[in-house]
């Protein structure tokens, strides 16, 4: 060993210390950065032939627990899935109303029945007839509101799907570009860890949309697969296609008015249990649009149909002559083929409403009556009340197997919505807890400022020691030159 090589070794030691300080300061600066993976330097001996000549930083590793990260990504996707479904079901439950809400559909119907009871006792009283009409309008507007909520959610899902698909496509492209960059940088021997951080962040963002698995490819590249087995990115990024519908109608479904999701040009079907695209937000929005919302709409329409048909019965009101009864389908009589969307169109017949040009006595004498008739005749009012309270099986296929009075059918529907919502909330809280736990574990591998402080202490010492060596070597050379 010559003094020169001692000097060289000390210099390399200084460089390594400086580099370590740089890494430590980078770590500390990013202590609050969620998507940052802690960097650690790999220090090895520098070789000159067979002899060691100092140290060098061979590379920088990112401290990431792949297993935990993979699980966290799947948990994130599940969390977003349940979040989306729960939000929708909570919305429906709130608008439809749970039993104790004054404005709940079942309570509106009970109010209508009570108003009918009062009118039956004094059929000559205009205020009492008016309160029946008002109660009927309250029921109809309640059904309209719930239908609107369902349709709005459905349209929102359509818009969100469109946004998610374009985000998916652009993110996959970006990851492909970052892959190429990382490969270039690492094959030329430089440090690609910062770009790898960026890539991890994009993948994490994507993980809430589609549950994915990451696989390593040579030279620092990665491949992405959905948890159902679709190849999202392997050398080339996959292309997802979707055509949004600007105005989704209640009777439109996949294939007839609504677009399905295409994967590299091929249509794929999604389902809430998993399927090709797994359980993530994209699946949730499709599930919402194609299953949950139409189902809720169908149940609601079934209830509306039952109400309309009961009072469109000539046995209840002999003056109808085939025309609409107290409740109409947007002003006309209801026909069975128009059931879908009925709850959004149900309205009180203008013939009984004075502000719409009708007369209150039609409630008592019959919708199609020409004259007010006997003021004390409660026959039609009694028939209406009896029909609404009778336990019948509704004609709609969506409510098949159920039977009861209109109020009982409505409360059955409300209970159904509540049960769905509670189930979704339970699943969501479980998914949220799992996500929280995994996230905490993942964050444990993050930057620990105490550790960095300790390392800095050591780096300071090492730097001082190397500087001392240089001083000593310099002193030795001086003393030789002074001879």
């Amino acid at each position: 060993m010559t003094i020169g090589s001692a000097l060289a070794s000390a210099l390399s030691g200084l460089t390594v210390s400086a580099r370590l300080a740089e890494i430590a300061s980078n770590n500390i600066a990013n202590a609050l950065n969620d998507g940052f993976a802690k960097k650690q330097a790999v220090v090895t001996a520098r070789m000159l032939g067979d002899q060691g000549a100092g140290a060098r930083v061979q590379g920088v590793t990112r401290s990431v627990d792949e297993l935990i990260l993979g699980d966290l990504r799947l948990a994130t996707a599940a969390h977003h899935f349940h979040q989306s479904e729960t939000t929708f079901l909570q919305g429906i439950d709130t608008v439809f109303g749970t039993a104790e809400d004054e404005g709940a559909i079942s309570n509106r119907i009970a109010g209508f029945e009570a108003a009918l009871t009062r009118a039956q006792s004094r059929p000559d009283s205009d205020p009492r007839l008016q309160s029946v009409v008002d109660a009927a309008k309250w029921v109809a507007s309640g059904l309209n509101d719930v239908s609107k909520e369902i349709q709005t959610s459905r349209q929102a899902a359509e818009t969100r799907i469109s946004g998610l698909v374009s985000q998916l496509n652009s993110d996959l492209q970006r990851i492909g570009e970052l892959n190429a960059k990382i490969t270039r940088i690492s094959t030329s021997g430089r440090d690609s860890s910062a770009i790898e951080d960026q890539r991890q962040q994009v993948i994490d963002r994507l993980a809430s949309v589609v549950p994915l698995r990451e696989e390593k490819r040579p030279n620092g590249a990665i491949a992405l697969f959905s948890s159902g087995g679709l190849v999202l990115l392997d050398g080339r990024a996959a292309e997802f296609g979707f055509t949004p519908n600007a105005h989704v109608m209640p009777d439109e479904t996949i294939g007839s008015g609504l677009s399905a999701l295409t994967f590299n040009g091929q249509e794929i079907t999604l389902n809430a249990q998993g399927g090709r695209l797994g359980v993530g937000e994209l699946t949730a929005q499709f599930d919402l649009r194609d299953r949950l919302a139409p189902q809720a709409q169908a149940h609601l329409d079934g209830l509306a149909r039952d109400l309309v048909e009961r009072l469109q019965d000539p046995a209840v009101d002999p003056t109808l002559g085939g025309a609409a009864g107290l409740f109409t389908d947007a002003g006309t009589a209801f026909a069975a083929a128009n059931e879908t969307g009925l709850s959004g169109r149900i309205a009180v017949n203008a013939a009984v409403s004075p502000e719409a040009g009708g007369a209150l006595w039609r409630l008592r004498a019959g919708i199609g009556a020409a004259s007010p008739g006997d003021p004390g005749d409660a026959t039609i009012l009694l028939a209406m009340g009896a029909k609404v309270a009778r336990s019948l099986s509704p004609a709609s296929a969506a409510l098949s197997g159920q039977s009861g009075s209109v109020a009982e059918l409505a409360s059955g529907l409300s209970a159904g919505f509540s049960v769905s919502r509670l189930g979704a909330e339970r699943a969501q809280s479980f998914a949220a807890t799992r996500h929280e736990t995994l996230k905490a574990e993942h964050l444990e591998n993050g930057v620990d400022t105490d550790e960095e402080m300790q390392t800095l202490l050591l780096i300071e010492q090492a730097y001082a020691a190397n500087a001392r060596v240089i001083q000593a070597a310099d002193a030795m050379m001086q003393s030789i030159l002074e001879i």
Partner: protein, 333 residues
């Protein structure tokens, strides 16, 4: 878990999650305390809200039934008072008619006849009474009086017995007119059918279908009518015949009064039924109210304890957060 280091953010993340959860609990507890109602009733019932809905519906319907019951009570009272008036008028005529049945004096006959006529007019007026804009004895056509005015009624009766020559003929003509389908029922009674049965409680239905066309009313009016025709100018009867007529009138009056008593008893029974229904409604309303309260109301004592516990918890987490934030190696270097 790494043996060498533990990320900074892990601790913050966990504590933050805890604080959020506890704050949510505090919000829920205070909201429930303030409103007295559970925030999520469906959750406490596990989604089985059908029974609660049926209680609420029963509560709403009972309120409707109470209104109907008080309507029917008023209606029954009006009917009862009309029938009682008719009965009083009829009973007051009994002793004058007995006097007339034992006398041959034209004066007596004329006095009794005028008395009967004024009583008949008063009875018709009682049946034509209106209460709060409608006519209780008119059935479903409750907007107009059931009978013509007293004078017109008397005039109609006089045309019925016009030209009769024997007391038997007078009585049989009046009888045919009151009981036949072309007499009283179509010519004098202008009302409609009796009212349909009305539900006044969850289990009671009352049918106050009494009208001025009921057989009892007709009988009572018939009883007064025969006596009123004692001095009819268009029938030619001598004193003995008039005495006979008075005797027959007494028999009809007796039957008429008995019929009015029966009708009064029938209405009285219905009034009792309405009474029972009203008190049943009251007690059922209380029962349903307590059942609903049991499902909906939040127990303030439990909530207060919960709130205490959550507050303590939250304070502890806050102090832990503060302490941990002071524990840094950099402070000791």
């Amino acid at each position: 878990m790494s043996l060498v280091s533990l990320g900074d953010m892990a601790q913050t993340f966990m504590l933050r999650g805890q604080i959020n959860r506890l704050k949510g609990e505090v919000t829920r507890t205070t909201a429930e305390l303030a409103s007295g109602q559970k925030l999520d009733v469906a959750q406490s019932l596990n989604g089985d809200t059908a029974q609660l809905s049926s209680y609420l519906r029963a509560q709403a319907l009972i309120q409707g039934y109470q209104t109907a019951a008080s309507d029917q009570a008023l209606q029954a009272e009006a009917m009862q008072s009309a029938v009682e008036t008719v009965l009083d008028l009829g009973e007051g005529l009994v002793s004058p008619i007995m006097t007339a049945a034992q006398s041959l004096s034209t004066q007596v006959f004329d006095t009794v006849a005028r008395d009967a006529q004024s009583r008949l007019t008063a009875a018709v007026a009682a049946l034509n009474v209106s209460v709060a804009g409608r006519y209780p004895m008119a059935g479903v056509t409750s907007g107009s009086p059931p009978l013509p005015s007293g004078e017109l009624f008397l005039a109609e009766l006089k045309t019925v017995v016009d030209g009769a020559s024997t007391p038997e003929e007078v009585v049989s003509r009046l009888s045919d007119w009151f009981n036949g389908s072309t007499g009283y029922s179509s010519a004098a009674y202008a009302g409609g059918d009796g009212a349909k049965p009305v539900q006044i409680s969850r289990t009671e239905v009352v049918s106050l279908s009494v009208t001025a066309n009921d057989p009892e009313i007709r009988r009572a009016l018939h009883g007064l009518a025969v006596a009123a025709m004692l001095d009819a100018p268009n029938i030619s009867l001598n004193a003995e015949q008039r005495q006979t007529l008075a005797t027959m009138a007494y028999a009809e009056l007796d039957a008429g009064n008995a019929a009015a008593v029966n009708l009064g008893a029938r209405i009285g029974t219905m009034q009792q039924q309405i009474d029972v229904a009203q008190s049943r409604n009251g007690s059922e309303a209380l029962v349903f109210e307590s059942r609903i309260a049991r499902d909906i109301e939040a127990d303030p004592f439990t909530l207060a304890t919960e709130l205490e516990a959550v507050q303590t918890n939250l304070e502890m987490v806050y102090s832990i957060t503060a302490r941990l934030s002071r524990l840094h190696l950099s402070d000791y270097l």
